[in-house]
Symmetry: C3
Subunit: 280 residues, 3 copies
């Protein structure tokens, strides 16, 4: 039996729904999702995380959602739809994420394809269900190609409205949820080898190396002919200088002061990055 | 005399204003429209359908608005501004759209240039007015180039606020409203010839052939050397395969599983698409 | 001592927060700012002016914010973050903008790097503070690279929530605020020389010459082999014709009827524009 989720601890009075997708903003897809939510609750607050995920790039969606997640109020319902498997047997899921006190800090709704993996690795899962209660869908026979509109957005709106998790689906084992793990870091005597996991609008290269790994020590990124000592801010150096620092998301980043590191180094997602440290 | 529009049947308590335009998101245009609405009602809920219509592409605007329209709550006011004729003699209009019960399901506000044509073809028109009551405009002498900010957004906000249709303008004949008709389908013995009416962010090719035309029969799209049987989901086939199916908007679509059909077939809006069917 | 700002005159009940940045919409940055605001007030109304300012283009941000500002309700809090100096010694500021009656018409929050300059030149400054009260920040030790999330968005949300200006920082002299002045116009006998200060999505060329300078007289833009008489609307001429007119932002603009003037004339921001007038 699914553990009882106390409504008062799960949701505040002003529960927010966020949307993340690869639908872009030029078509009717995002409007259709928001209209569907408004049909359930015209006063529902909806915040876009982004709709500009590259088409079907689950790894990018995983990274962006993971980085936005901690800044939202408790009880926020995050509907995320990057869904190359729509219409296949992949499950739709809703997941309640907790913290060390096992109190809910957020709810995830979307396809079970790994896009929630970054959050699932960092927080306890309080409960998860497979979505199969079509009375909370837009229509009992959803489109085969647009579950964002027909299943995920309406289920998210109903959850934000106070519907309980066990009403929208059947409990599933948290460990069965799909994750997209980052490639593991490789440690040698005084070197850590990671890779680039994301590149932002400014061309900053976000590595897979978290701040905790280089905390309380000297460190530098070794890249081509450069040895970039770990700094605390872009502005310690003059414009055009390559620098390494802990970015705002909490990962080692490589940047060019007032410039674009992707263009400067011509690197891509997945490329190897090495860090030297004083000691481990 | 204009038929009395009962406020309770027209509007729910939480009337929404949607915005659609070709203003893009880099300039101050959208912010100015939203600020103008907020000056009328700071609590007004506003949902963007899109602002990324190609500059002055009325046909694209017509397609996107038509596809988003049915998902919004009754009483929603849709302000749409793709307006190459701004400052000329083209009329500004507000239109109440009904359904078979002749109850309002939505209100359209914008230039009378055909961008509402897709909706006008599908639903009864309950009433229409030409906008000429400048007390509901931002200023009595509007800009010659930005009626979105000075006329359409404020009129939309006032209508959402409960102002009656006949207060904002003078009744006009519904049949005088401009429409942009799709080119008619051509039927031969077991073939239907339509064309591509839209291409979405994923490169899916949306045809002018509605689902109803191929319902309850076998059908296939005949395209170059391919014969693409009508499927029910992308995921019946392996990635990279061209498929034909009923898309989420209710039209025959051509797609590549996890790929981009526009790039694959190198087709454009207006190109011919032929469907073979078993029987009519 | 800072002048007392009366809450009732400064703020309406439904104070809005606007956001302007160069963060783009593909990353988690905007979502993180909005989540941070929602953690302070889940019911806070937030309107995006734009997030598509070119990375670190303070002049473009100055232009867009100046043009959106006058359309928002009194008491609106504008949070603007184009911040190449983040992490350096540049100040964070909050500024109360007034009008001739010295009543507040808006509040600006962001880095003191000139991006508010266009507004500061047009309106009286009622009060300004340097942000240094970290109890109104997201965390006492903000990120070195993302003050939008950690300082400016939360301070803006608190001000919208009714916190007084003198609680969030220490008073500074309005004349010490950084401005980015436009290059001055050059007047000769019957010619005014300005330049292009902005180019919008439609390719319209917005000059530095305000409408007031050409009011109540004949004028024309002299550009290459063209002499473009000042018109009142795009639609006086046939498609493809270059025209000069007063744009919706109140500046002399050069446009192509239903076309793109930037591509037609191949001009850039900063390029010289000359106007001939009958008399001064």
């Amino acid at each position: 039996m699914l553990p009882k989720i106390h409504r008062n601890s799960l949701f505040t009075m002003s529960r927010i729904v966020t949307l993340l997708s690869d639908f872009g903003t030029q078509d009717a897809y995002v409007g259709a999702m928001k209209g569907t939510i408004a049909q359930i609750n015209p006063a529902q607050a909806v915040i876009d995380v982004t709709h500009d995920i590259e088409p079907q790039n689950i790894a990018q969606a995983r990274f962006v959602l993971m980085n936005a997640f901690p800044y939202f109020p408790r009880g926020t319902v995050h509907v995320a739809v990057v869904d190359p498997g729509v219409g296949s047997a992949r499950r739709g899921v809703a997941i309640v994420i907790g913290d060390s006190s096992t109190e809910s800090i957020g709810v995830l709704v979307g396809p079970d394809n790994g896009l929630f993996g970054g959050i699932l690795e960092q927080y306890p899962i309080l409960a998860a269900v497979e979505l199969n209660q079509f009375c909370y869908w837009r229509i009992p026979q959803p489109s085969h190609t647009f579950h964002g509109r027909d299943i995920f957005a309406p289920v998210g709106a109903h959850l934000a409205n106070g519907v309980e998790l066990d009403q929208v689906g059947t409990a599933i084992a948290p460990e069965s949820l799909k994750r997209l793990a980052l490639p593991p870091l490789v440690y040698t005597e005084n070197e850590i080898t990671g890779s680039i996991q994301a590149i932002d609008r400014f061309g900053n290269l976000v590595t897979t190396i978290p701040a905790a790994v280089v905390a309380n020590q000297q460190w530098s990124v070794e890249l081509e002919e450069y040895s970039l000592p770990g700094l605390t801010t872009y502005s310690d150096r003059s414009p055009g200088t390559p620098v390494a620092l802990i970015g705002s998301h909490g990962w080692v980043e490589i940047a060019i002061v007032n410039g674009n590191a992707q263009q400067f180094f011509n690197l891509q997602i997945g490329d190897t990055i090495k860090i030297q440290t004083d000691e481990f």
